[in-house]
């Protein structure tokens, strides 16, 4: 449709008497802040989230509810110490309408402290810290990714169904690992399983030989682990090299194999994990999204890109309900709460605590690829411990 500034102004002028509020709001660009890592270990994650957000905006003609978008990106360097300054730069300095990000949970915690005060509408696009939609939950904060609980609790049931009753837990000893383990243990002991040993490895240490010998001597039914990134790649290889892969099956939250399958090679064969997404998820949305992302960036999409993609589509749907007026925050929040997204991950909506209610899938590595075995927990909803909005 040809759409020039003149026709736009003409149309707006015609209806200006009726909608003076909308006039001011639709004219200005929508300022979306991105607080993401563009350098360091998590740079690839930050870039995938950003590109997927822009892809989603492009699918909507580069506009959300008729407003053009101005992206304001800040490299958070995954550094919690720099987070307050970076958040303030976006909120006070750049006066963003909507703040999105980050990847790192430590950065998210610092961000929460500020946006709870400033009431900026915030959408967390990755960080899985429980507190974001738990103790620190706030009406103006949403999350489109996951909570740590959602990635680990459902695995307990999967293992019990596989007949693994006596397990060893092994994890990186920082908040992500600790929260994963707590969630898993909650489900596992409730279902009648026993945890015979917990091995906490200091983050980001990757020398596992001593612990593997320990596991071999304990002879558990299975091992449940939390590692991610480089540590996950090394752990899975060491585990197979120690001859444990065929004797003691390995389970984990999906981050054990996400993005590192190539580095793990045949050592990862047979590992079962739970996550709210899998590359091979067979639905029309996912195929369309993956093709579009590949065409736009030349890279394969991943679980991080999905969160970025859904963020913009959820935001667009909600903004349309308020005619693009982001300053009408109360109405915008209500609209977001009512949003139903047909995501590449499957359908999702926001819970009362503003965390996604979404399916968690069982995945197994087969032939170097993540195969989806089924749904581990349908419409998994984070328990949102300590969130005042839930009662």
């Amino acid at each position: 449709m040809p759409f020039s500034r003149r026709t736009f102004l003409g149309a707006t002028a015609a209806s200006v008497a009726a909608t003076t509020r909308v006039f001011g709001a639709t004219k200005a660009k929508l300022r979306i802040g991105l607080l993401l890592p563009y350098s360091g270990t998590y740079a690839a994650l930050g870039n995938n989230i950003t590109d997927a957000m822009k892809l989603a905006a492009g699918e909507r003609g580069g506009k959300l509810a008729g407003r053009e978008i101005e992206w304001i990106a800040v490299d958070d360097e995954s550094d919690p110490a720099k987070a307050p300054a970076n958040v303030n730069k976006l909120i006070a300095g750049e006066k963003v309408d909507i703040l999105t990000g980050p990847v790192h949970s430590g950065v998210a915690m610092a961000m929460m402290q500020i946006v709870r005060q400033e009431k900026t509408l915030t959408i967390v696009t990755n960080a899985g810290a429980q507190a974001v939609t738990g103790q620190l939950c706030a009406p103006n904060v949403f999350r489109t990714s996951f909570s740590n609980w959602q990635t680990s609790y459902p695995c307990a049931d999967v293992m019990l169904k596989d007949g693994r009753k006596k397990v060893v837990l092994m994890f990186w000893n920082y908040s992500f690992g600790q929260e994963s383990m707590a969630a898993f243990k909650e489900g596992f002991t409730k279902g009648g399983g026993t945890v015979i040993k917990e091995i906490a490895v200091p983050f980001p240490q990757t020398e596992f030989q001593a612990n593997l010998s320990e596991i071999a001597s304990l002879k558990p039914d299975a091992v449940f682990v939390f590692f991610a990134g480089a540590g996950a790649a090394k752990f899975v290889r060491d585990y197979a090299d120690a001859g444990l892969r065929d004797k003691v099956p390995l389970y984990g939250s999906g981050f054990l194999t996400e993005g590192v399958l190539g580095a793990q090679g045949p050592a990862a064969e047979g590992i079962k994990t739970t996550l709210h997404y899998a590359d091979s998820l067979d639905n029309a949305q996912n195929r369309k999204f993956r093709d579009a992302f590949k065409t736009a960036t030349g890279r394969e999409a991943d679980v991080y890109a999905v969160a970025g993609y859904d963020t913009v589509h959820a935001l667009a749907a909600a903004l349309e309900k308020v005619q693009g007026d982001a300053s009408a925050q109360k109405e915008l929040i209500a609209a977001l709460e009512g949003v139903r997204i047909d995501s590449p991950r499957g359908p999702f909506r926001f819970s009362k605590a503003h965390n996604p209610v979404q399916n968690v899938y069982v995945r197994q590595v087969k032939g170097g690829k993540e195969a989806v075995l089924g749904v581990a927990l349908k419409n998994a909803e984070d328990p949102a411990f300590g969130c005042a909005m839930v009662k």
């Binding site: 270990t41 906490a200 020398e207 001593a210 010998s213 071999a216 480089a230 001859g243 590192v260």
Partner: protein, 286 residues
């Protein structure tokens, strides 16, 4: 802890220590003889690992990677010494730390530009792709045994070179009194260049051997650097023999720390270092 588990853990510790020795030996030589605190030593380790990944992905052979990579890294070490380090011999340690830390940043950026931030796995040579059963429960990959053997071989070779050759004699002399060596008419500059590129090659070789065991990832050099400094300090600066026993001590205390005191495992190595320094302030061989 049962006796068999104890034995396994001793093996784990020794194996970890041997690889650490390979890195630390180059560091202690450069520190002891050239008097240079070389922070970039970890970067050479990292570059070695990335070269192993890159060349073996291209040729399908880790051996080819080592044969091509070692001369490349030795030349790089030679260049770095000539262009940068050589200007620092008369300066204090602070200038050296600044320069070599700058090199760390430079090499990290280089790695990012050339290889990106992904984690890469390197396959062990096919000949060694089998496993050796240890007791009833665990197995050891043959490649781990091979690396341990290779480290012992390199250690033995270094011992021969340092004790039995003219070059080794000069290195020993340089370590105890460089000015006197110079006064005796030996070209110290050449000696230093050769030594620095040998140190670089040792770090790179360690990186290459370790690549199939550790995977290859950004920042892998820094982790190793810190432990290597601990080894050098425990062993006594400039002493290869000290570095060997220091590395064993660090490997074993790290391994047993993890099993016996998991909460304090990362502090264990430093506690051992402090204990050694209390008894022998100049290190084991100092």
């Amino acid at each position: 802890m049962s006796f068999s588990l104890f034995g396994l853990q001793v093996l784990n510790g020794v194996e970890q220590g041997l690889l650490l020795f390979l890195v630390a030996s180059g560091l202690t030589l450069v520190f002891g003889v050239l008097g240079v605190l070389n922070f970039a030593h970890g970067s050479f380790y990292m570059l070695g690992a990335y070269l192993a990944f890159w060349i073996s992905a291209g040729t399908g052979s880790l051996l080819a990677a080592v044969l091509i990579g070692i001369p490349v890294m030795a030349s790089l070490g030679f260049l770095v010494e000539r262009l940068a380090i050589a200007r620092l011999y008369k300066r204090d340690h602070l200038s050296q730390v600044l320069l070599t830390y700058g090199l760390v940043l430079l090499f990290n950026e280089l790695q990012r530009a050339l290889f990106g931030n992904d984690v890469h796995g390197v396959d062990a040579p096919r000949l060694l792709a089998f496993r050796i059963p240890l007791g009833s429960a665990q197995e050891w990959p043959a490649y781990r045994v091979f690396t341990a053997a290779a480290c012992i071989a390199v250690a033995a070779l270094m011992r021969q070179v340092i004790l039995k050759t003219r070059f080794g004699m000069r290195v020993r002399a340089g370590a105890s009194n460089a000015e006197m060596v110079e006064a005796l008419g030996i070209d110290v500059r050449k000696l230093f260049s050769a030594l620095f590129s040998a140190g670089t090659a040792l770090a790179a070789l360690a990186g290459m051997l370790a690549a199939p065991l550790t995977t290859v990832y950004p920042g892998m050099g820094e982790n190793v650097l810190v432990l290597s400094f601990v080894v050098v300090v425990i062993g006594g600066i400039g002493s290869i023999k000290g570095a060997f026993f220091g590395a064993m001590l660090v490997g074993l205390s790290d391994t047993f720390g993890k099993v016996l005191l998991p909460g304090l495992a990362s502090a264990m190595v430093y506690a051992v270092m402090a204990a050694v320094l209390l008894v022998r302030p100049r290190g084991l061989a100092g």
